[in-house]
C-alpha cells in the first residue's frame, strides 16, 4: 500500500505506468484535461493556484483515507500548479486495487472530495481577442 502526491509546476508530463502492486486486479487512471471553454467563454489556459502545504496534505489525507477504507493497493495523484494550456493535463489519479469495484468507487470519491475540499483554484486565462476583421467600408477597395 502506497500513497503518492505530487504538485507539479505547469502541465503534467506523460503518464508513466506504475508497476501493478502484488494482488492488484484493477488499475484505473483518470486524467483531467484543460478544455477550450469555461462557463464564461473561450480560454487559452487555466492558471492553478494551490495553497501549500495544505493542498498537498489534503490530497494525501484523502488518499490515505480511501486506501484504508477500501483496501486499495496503491494511489498516485498529481496536480498542476501555474499555467496549463488547453489540451494539456492538469490532474492525474491512478489507483490500484484488488477489484474493479473498489478502484472505481475510490476514483469517484477522490475526485468529488478534491473538488470539494482541496485548496486549489483555477483561474481562466481568457482567449486573447483575435483582431477583428476590417469592415468592408474600411477597405480601400470597398468604396
Amino acid at each position: 500500500m502506497s500513497v503518492s502526491v505530487t504538485i507539479t509546476d505547469g502541465p503534467l508530463g506523460p503518464f508513466l505506468p506504475p508497476g501493478a502492486p502484488a494482488g492488484a486486479g484493477a488499475l484505473v487512471l483518470f486524467e483531467g484535461i484543460v478544455r477550450e471553454r469555461e462557463a464564461d467563454g473561450p480560454i487559452d489556459a487555466l492558471d492553478y493556484e494551490a495553497y501549500q502545504p495544505m493542498a498537498q496534505r489534503m490530497l494525501a489525507r484523502i488518499g490515505d483515507d480511501l486506501t484504508t477504507r477500501l483496501g486499495l493497493l496503491g494511489l498516485w495523484v498529481e496536480h498542476s500548479r501555474g499555467r496549463v494550456g488547453v489540451g494539456r493535463c492538469s490532474f492525474r489519479l491512478v489507483i490500484a486495487a484488488p477489484h474493479r469495484k473498489e478502484a472505481l468507487a475510490a476514483m469517484d470519491e477522490f475526485i468529488d472530495r478534491l473538488k470539494q475540499d482541496v485548496p486549489i483554484w483555477k483561474v481562466p486565462v481568457w482567449r486573447r481577442a483575435t483582431v477583428a476583421p476590417a469592415r468592408p467600408s474600411d477597405r480601400p477597395d470597398a468604396g
Binding site: 495553497y51 495544505m54 490532474f91 473538488k115 475540499d117 482541496v118 485548496p119 483554484w121 483555477k122
Partner: protein
Amino acid sequence: MSVKVLLFGAARLTVGREHVVVDAGQAPTCRAVLTELGAAYPALRPIAGVGRLAVNSEFASGDQQVRSTDEVALIGLVSGG
C-alpha cells in the same frame, strides 16, 4: 486584533491582492473574521459567505478562536481538478 487573511483564486482576483488585513475585535472567532471580511470587502461577501477559513492549513470551525500567530486563509469554494 489585526488578522491577515490569505486570498486565492476568485477572491484574489476580486480584491487584486494576495492578502488583506482585517480588525475583527479581541480574540476573534473564525466567524467574526469572516463577517469582518465581508464588511470591509463587500466584493468578498459571496466567498466569505461560504464560510470556510483555514487556520494553520486546517479547515476551522466558526467557533475556533484565531490567535495572533495563526496563518489564516480564505478557502471558500475550490476548483481543482
